[in-house]
């Protein structure tokens, strides 16, 4: 009887006491980290919150940040390539694997169902969401926190928000900035759960300008050390210059002139010099200037860039993979990206930038992994550039030219050309230019200088220019497109049209 008693006791005890501890049903992730875990960690170490800002910079080069598994989905530099191909200066010279072929043949732009229309939309809005989340957590859009670190975080977040809206406003608005009354994009300045209707271009641009103005104030004195991935005050000024130049009112252009002058005169950066601009070889074919290749964040002209290392886990799915012959990826494997032969023809023979391209027009002496072994770079550790000082010089020239300040425009332009020609006589012709001819020249030099860097598309739209595809295009060779041709602007993707019933309200 005793035994039975014990067994019953054991049974009851087992069933009631093995009832698990309270935290038995509490589990937290470790492959990724949750905001609640981070909030707890921040109590111990508040600097960890800066990781939210860093996370946005991380997204700029993250594979799959456009919400797909495509090998053209790797952040900002991927959309730079879309821009370069839509602008026609970058030619897709083979379609073995077919990435970018529906950009190059202009079907992605008229077909709102394809991923290429979806990815930039998804990517830039996820940046906006992340920026909104940071701003909200630090007190909201009107906050002016006492703590310098927090203010600087808000400044960066606002600049990043403006950056994202700026690219959306280029990619998804046919006119760029038209009358200002055209409805172009939904606007979000707080993290929400409900979709917004489209706002007008004016509302979007006003928000960008407000954000960047505030960012410039808040980033005064902000030091990012040796790293260049963060938006500092100069980068914010550079972004604001782009936004204002795109809006293009006279007052805007005046500000572009003064903002770019501030950046240039601050001496924080140097212009890309001739040894950095193109590879030089000795007779044995060995590379002489290791600083060339547009592959290192240490380049003095780079204002906004990221130092990529093995830790970033990038390989063939990357900008380097898609563009560089010396990286193991698609450029080598039958989908090369080369320069439009029309543009190439316009580069003067004395211009060192002509040598950036080989006889097949591959950009192998502009962009290259330092080893220069074909298909050699397997894990990508060459860096990404988002903005460099030369852009500011060209923007300065352009804004001055648009305002009619020919002399100032020419001076800026020549400060660049001086580094691209050995003999001043070869570029002195610019002294004689003015008005639209000067503007055309600046536009041409912008295309040449910034080939393959994603900037020409922005210049095309803000200058309301047209493009003509050279004869080496696989598709539509010889065709001309105005800046507002529907074929070179994306449609709002199907996923938004289907799932945002407020969009057109």
């Amino acid at each position: 009887m005793k035994r039975k008693f014990y067994i019953i006791l054991l049974a009851v005890a087992s069933i009631s006491t093995v009832a698990c501890k309270k935290d038995f049903l509490e589990k937290t992730p470790s492959e990724q980290i949750s905001n609640e875990q981070l909030d707890l960690l921040a109590i111990q170490d508040p600097t960890i919150l800066n990781g939210y800002i860093n996370g946005i910079y991380g997204k700029m080069f993250e594979v799959g940040s456009g919400g797909t598994t495509g090998h053209d989905d790797f952040g900002q530099k991927g959309y730079d390539m879309y821009a370069d191909m839509l602008a026609g200066d970058m030619v897709l010279a083979g379609t073995n694997y077919g990435w970018y072929s529906n950009i190059a043949n202009l079907t992605a732009t008229v077909n709102y169902t394809v991923n290429q229309a979806y990815m930039p939309w998804r990517y830039y809005y996820s940046i906006i969401y992340a920026a909104n989340t940071v701003i909200e957590s630090l007190g909201g859009n009107d906050a002016n926190p006492e703590e310098v670190v927090k203010a600087q975080m808000i400044g960066q977040a606002k600049a990043l928000r403006a950056y994202a809206y700026f690219y959306l406003a280029n990619f998804y608005s046919k006119e760029g900035y038209g009358t200002g009354n055209e409805k172009i994009l939904p606007l979000y300045i707080v993290p929400g759960t409900v979709n917004n209707p489209k706002s007008t271009a004016k509302e979007i641009y006003d928000q960008m300008v407000d954000d960047l103005d505030d960012a410039i104030v808040k980033l005064d004195g902000f030091s990012r050390g040796n790293a260049k991935h963060a938006v500092n005050q100069s980068v914010a000024k550079g972004l604001l210059s782009y936004v204002l130049a795109a809006r293009g009112a006279n007052a805007d252009l005046q500000r572009v002139v003064s903002l770019t002058n501030e950046i240039i005169s601050s001496k924080e950066f140097n212009m890309t010099d001739s040894l950095e601009a193109v590879a030089n070889f000795n007779e044995a074919g060995e590379l002489q200037n290791l600083q060339s290749g547009f592959n290192s964040v240490s380049t003095k002209s780079w204002m906004w860039a990221v130092d990529l290392t093995l830790a970033n886990n990038l390989d063939l799915v990357s900008w380097w993979g898609q563009v560089d012959l010396f990286t193991y990826s698609y450029a080598w494997a039958g989908d090369p990206k080369i320069i439009d032969d029309g543009l190439y023809a316009e580069i003067k023979d004395q211009d060192i930038r002509k040598r950036q391209f080989d006889e097949d027009l591959w950009p192998i002496n502009k962009f290259f992994a330092p080893d220069r072994r074909i298909g050699g770079q397997r894990n990508v550790i060459t860096d990404y550039v988002y903005m460099r000082l030369d852009e500011m010089v060209l923007l300065n020239a352009e804004a001055n030219a648009r305002l009619g300040n020919s002399a100032a425009a020419i001076a800026s332009l020549k400060s660049l050309l001086k580094l691209r020609f050995a003999d001043e006589a070869d570029y002195s012709y610019v002294d004689g230019l003015s008005g639209s001819a000067l503007l055309k020249e600046i536009y041409l030099q912008t295309r040449i200088e910034l080939w393959g860097e994603g900037k020409t598309y922005l210049a095309l739209k803000r200058n309301k220019e047209s493009l003509t595809r050279g004869s080496n295009h696989l598709f539509y060779a010889g065709d001309t497109y105005q800046y507002n041709d529907p074929a070179i602007t994306f449609l709002i993707p199907q996923a938004e049209e289907l799932n945002n019933p407020n969009l057109n309200k």
């Binding site: 698990c20 980290i33 991935h229 130092d307 050699g376």
Partner: protein, 1068 residues
């Protein structure tokens, strides 16, 4: 080496067996008196001696016994029978069903019952049926055995488990897989680690009564696996060997195999391109095609200087007299092989009044037909049960498994052998050729250098060669796995037991990927190596109090229990490059190391549950259960309560049917219950999560996905009604109807991505599954030495979304959610196609046309751009305009709409034929499915219009449009002209009937007469030949709709493997 060892053991056991041979031999067959069916597993015992045997699956036995001895035949559910030998050498016996003892024991959730006393739906599959198939694990073997269970065999790779679905499609985005329970413990390991030969039976639980006891994990069915024991058996040794061959017997797609034919089509494609894009004249187009054919497509295996020497522009074929420089290989010849399959098992078992045990060793070497795809496994098992005291039983089930699986050539990218074999244009060689067309010696590996396309400028799979990579590389899983259970059962007082069990499962899997040092993607970095180590720990504590008693005619059972489960899977990833030794797989062999990574996935589950079963005279049956589960997966709403009630009525026990000759058995049953599911939501769906990114060596938190802290269980309310019957000696069967409404669906609700993310998991929306299942066996022929049984099982089911989730933008349910080729909307199944409709080819220009619905805004009675309705189901028609139909050649303008076709079949199931004549047994199993559609995307790729040289074509391309006036449904080839880019985009053009009829297994066995084998000391000796996947009929050669849940094809898929084998089994 181990194979030899096992062979030795086998031989040794044979010898031992012979040494014990004695007495004379009596043999015979035991059948059931009710239907004459052979009875397997009947204990045959020599009275007064400790000699015993069991009948085999065909009811045959043989035993040594003295001439004046007596044999006792006994089996649960039948009245035991004693028969004197009286000098006979053959003794056939009929056993009478024991009406009160009911029939076979069925293991169900946390207990056992008999088929006749169970109010729910539980189909038991005998191990013998599973083991006759040449599969490595239970999942594939289950195909065709149970009505309402579909087995999706997604890969021919040996050693992979199939996807199992019970009763339709249980969830939208949540889990749809059944719970697997092995010897009473929910199973988190791999089914492939359990030796099929160790399985005594598998029971599929389908309705709420059967599964609600598993609460939150029972909503998609439960499969209860019971492994063998030595209970009731004398000590035995049983060994079987099975040798076979695996092959690619089922056809692949018919593709263009002739280089000349490929060149002709390519020429035409270029010709059409120049006309489509440039508006060229015939002469200009001819010149263009001539100029481009060699350069653009790198089509240059002929001894010609240019395209005009190669192609006759009138016939558009290669001119006669043109010779090849060399013959490009057919890649398939080098990708596939006939390979061996070896399966050897040795089992030991026995029992006495206190102890029973079963132990086994198994060796399987299963090589796939694709090169370097194989599975090698060693298993060992011990099942032990011992009565320590009259009040205490303890026991152990213990299984170890060690396996190596090579998966080469199966990545879903340019590493896929299957993609290459079908899609490689026939003009490209497997081996690189020098300028004279000769193969080049490979200095590193021997043989010839494979062509990576580096010099040949091959346009398909540039710079890769999946066959070379599969030859030189490694893609391997080394898995060591343990699973088992220890238990102690205390008998407290009569009828009351306390059962305590600890279940444990563990595996360590090391995935190794090595890329070759000299060729392929990692050659530039000197080869690369990747390891992913995953270590899984799962444990389960169960404390259960059970009371079972009989009060006169009242049988009563009740249980109450607590269970806690914990799952933890840790990953560790290493990678590096620069191999010193090209063959070493260790990391000290690697010069450059990449950053490593690791993380854990875990969840816990805690449960309280109870059950009551009651019956009166075995005629009126009642059962009920309730379970409360808490899961760590949900953040705020962790707990859910589930339960069921079931009732049954055995009419054949009633007076009015007592003497009915036709209706021998008849039971009506019904059940209703609430069951849940927690799977399919990931492990931490409650949290907003961020990826940790290295940004200049500082941490960056990059937003990844939005969590939902209120997420909780999805709940299914399932009703079932059924009938089980036995009519005379001719027909036994079960028919069941179910209706399952799942609410609080785990739904990945899409949102306009401008909000910052594209979807969020919510509990919203309702889904209804309903269906009818039948399982009938007709005993067509029956005689003293022959029988023929024909079984058919099947299901017909419907699936319907009855409520869509709320769109927070509008506060109204979403109208539509497009999911690939399907559209989700109220009133439609989750597999209703929502596509653009292909409306044929314009005979004038050969371009594709698609249907467009439009509102004729400018009243010109024809479709103009801008008037289209992009998505018909979402069109609100605010101005109430007339909707007209037209066609468009612009794919993006075409309307997406429901075309009335669905992937859900009207009827599917299996036919099982079993026949015996004297010592022969034959079984044939066929699988069928009728009435559904599937999207044949792999075919779409083969019917594409990409630039010449970049893909092969299906032979159906020969029906293409070629000139004005051609009536065909295959559009022109035009080298990917911008006007024709969408020819193979998703549309109804590639919807294909998913009907199939497949010969899943056929087996012919011969059991030797006992008096022949007894001198060898054997109690049983059988041989057989068996074949799997011999024949398959579907709408298109190469299209296997049973390999995917939706039936859709995939150009990367390892299509089904066929096996032919011969085996031998001996028992001592």
């Amino acid at each position: 080496m181990k194979q030899k060892l096992l062979s030795l053991i086998f031989v040794w056991t044979c010898l031992v067996g012979i040494a014990f041979a004695q007495d004379r031999q009596v043999r015979g067959k035991v059948t059931s008196s009710t239907d004459g069916a052979p009875l397997g597993g009947v204990s045959v015992l020599v009275v007064g001696a400790s000699i015993a045997t069991q009948t085999d699956a065909s009811g045959n036995y043989s035993i040594e016994v003295g001439a004046d001895g007596t044999l006792n035949f006994s089996m649960l559910g039948y009245v035991s029978k004693r028969v004197k030998i009286a000098n006979q050498s053959t003794l056939n016996v009929e056993l009478v069903s024991d009406e009160t003892a009911l029939d076979e024991i069925v293991i169900v959730g946390y207990g056992s019952t008999t088929k006749e006393a169970f109010t729910g739906s539980a189909k038991k599959v005998d191990g013998a049926n599973l083991q006759q198939k040449n599969t490595s694990n239970l999942s594939q073997a289950l195909a065709g055995e149970v009505a309402g269970v579909s087995v999706v065999n997604g890969s021919g790779q040996p050693g992979t488990a199939a996807t199992i679905r019970v009763r339709g499609f249980g969830s939208v985005n949540g889990n749809r897989s059944p719970l697997i329970v092995v010897d009473g413990v929910p199973y988190s390991g791999n089914l492939t680690s359990i030796n099929n030969n160790d399985i005594e039976s598998a029971t599929v639980l389908k309705d709420a009564t059967a599964t609600a006891i598993y609460g939150s994990r029972g909503a998609n069915g439960v499969i209860v696996i019971t492994t063998k024991s030595g209970k009731g058996q004398d000590s035995f040794i049983e060994a079987d060997v099975n040798f076979g061959s695996n092959m690619a017997l089922l056809p692949r797609y018919d593709v263009i195999r002739s280089p000349e034919q490929y060149a002709g089509l390519s020429w035409e494609s270029l010709y059409n391109y120049s006309q489509a894009i440039g508006g060229y004249t015939d002469a200009q187009a001819t010149e263009y095609a001539n100029n481009q054919i060699v350069t653009q497509g790198s089509i240059n295996i002929w001894d010609v200087a240019n395209g005009s020497e190669l192609i006759d522009p009138i016939t558009r074929t290669v001119k006669s007299g043109v010779d090849r420089l060399y013959d490009p290989e057919n890649w398939e010849d080098y990708a596939f092989q006939n390979s061996n399959r070896t399966d050897i098992n040795v089992k030991f078992g026995g029992s006495n009044d206190k102890t029973n045990y079963f132990t086994s060793y198994g060796y399987l070497n299963d090589q796939g037909y694709s090169i370097n795809s194989d599975f090698k496994r060693y298993t060992g098992r011990l099942n032990l049960d011992h009565k320590v005291k009259p009040w205490l039983n303890v026991g152990l089930n213990f299984n170890v498994s060690k396996s190596e699986r090579n998966n080469n050539g199966q990545s879903e990218d340019s590493g896929s052998i299957f993609w290459f074999v079908d899609n490689m244009p026939s003009v490209y060689p497997l081996f690189e050729r020098d300028e004279n067309g000769n193969k080049i010696d490979n200095p590193y590996h021997g043989g010839f250098v494979y062509d990576y396309g580096e010099n040949s400028n091959r346009r398909f799979g540039s710079l890769t060669n999946s066959i070379a990579d599969a030859t030189y590389g490694v893609d391997r899983h080394n898995r060591n796995e343990l699973n088992g259970r220890g238990y102690a059962n205390f008998n407290v007082i009569k009828g009351l037991t306390f059962e305590n069990s600890f279940g444990y499962q563990y595996y360590n899997n090391n995935q190794i990927i090595k890329n070759d040092k000299f060729y392929g993607s990692a050659a530039s970095q000197g080869g690369s190596l990747y390891h992913q180590n995953s270590e899984m720990n799962f444990y389960n504590f169960l404390n259960l109090l059970r009371y079972r008693n009989q009060f006169g005619d009242h049988n009563f059972e009740a249980l109450a229990a607590h269970e806690a489960s914990s799952y933890n899977l840790k990953y560790l990833t290493l990678s590096g490059s620069g191999l010193v030794d090209p063959n070493s797989l260790d990391f000290n062999n690697v010069v450059v190391s990449n950053p490593n990574g690791g993380y854990t996935e875990d969840y816990n589950l805690e449960s309280y549950f109870g059950q009551i079963n009651y019956d009166y005279k075995g005629t009126y049956l009642l059962s009920g259960s309730v379970r409360r589960d808490g899961s760590s997966r949900f953040k705020n709403n962790k707990w859910g309560t589930f339960g069921s009630i079931g009732a049954g009525w055995v009419l054949s026990n009633e007076e009015f049917l007592a003497n009915n000759d036709v209706i021998n058995f008849l039971k009506l049953k019904a059940s209703y219950g609430l069951i849940g599911d927690q799977g399919g939501v990931g492990y931490y769906p409650g949290y907003d999560v961020f990826n940790v990114v290295n940004v200049n060596d500082e941490p960056g938190f990059s937003f990844d996905s939005k969590g939902n802290e209120d997420l909780t269980w999805e709940t299914s309310k399932m009703f079932q009604a059924g009938v089980e019957f036995r009519l005379g000696n001719y027909l036994t069967g079960t028919v069941e109807y179910y209706l399952k409404n799942t609410s609080d669906l785990i739904f990945d609700r899409r949102i306009g991505p401008s909000v910052g993310y594209a979807l969020i998991k919510v509990n919203d929306g309702n889904l209804r599954n309903s269906g009818l299942e039948f399982d009938l066996t007709g005993h067509i022929l029956k005689g003293s030495d022959y029988y023929l049984d024909l079984g058919i099982n099947g299901e017909t089911f419907k699936n319907k979304i009855t409520k869509m989730p709320i769109d927070p933008n509008t506060g109204q349910p979403k109208t539509l959610d497009i999911q690939g080729t399907a559209g989700w909307a109220v009133g439609h199944s989750i597999y209703d196609f929502y596509l653009r409709e292909f409306s044929g080819v314009d005979p004038m220009d050969g371009r594709s046309t698609w249907k467009v619905y439009y509102t004729d805004n400018n009243n010109n009675n024809e479709f103009d751009a801008g008037e289209q309705i992009p998505s018909l189901n979402q069109f609100e028609n605010p101005d109430n305009k007339e909707i007209k139909e037209g066609t468009t050649k612009n794919y993006a303008q075409a309307t997406q709409f429901y075309n009335g076709k669905s992937a859900i079949p009207k009827l599917r199931g299996a036919l099982n034929l079993r026949a015996g004549y004297k010592n022969f047994d034959l079984s044939v199993q066929m699988l069928y499915s009728f009435g559904g559609y599937a999207y044949d995307g792999a075919y779409a790729t083969l019917m594409g219009n990409s630039v010449v040289g970049s893909n092969n074509w299906h032979t159906d391309i020969l029906n293409r449009w070629q000139k004005e006036g051609d009536i065909t449904d295959v559009p022109r080839l035009s080298n990917n002209a911008t006007t024709d880019q969408n020819v193979s985009s998703a549309s109804t053009r590639f919807l294909t009937k998913a009907n199939y009829l497949a010969l899943n297994n056929i087996r012919l066995a011969y059991n030797f007469d006992a008096n022949l084998v007894s001198p060898l000391g054997l109690s049983n000796l059988g041989v057989w030949v068996s074949a799997d996947n011999l024949w398959y009929h579907s709408a298109r050669r190469g299209f296997y709709p049973s390999t995917a849940e939706s039936g859709a094809s995939d150009m990367y898929r390892y299509s089904p493997l066929s096996t032919i084998s011969a085996g031998l089994r001996a028992k001592f």
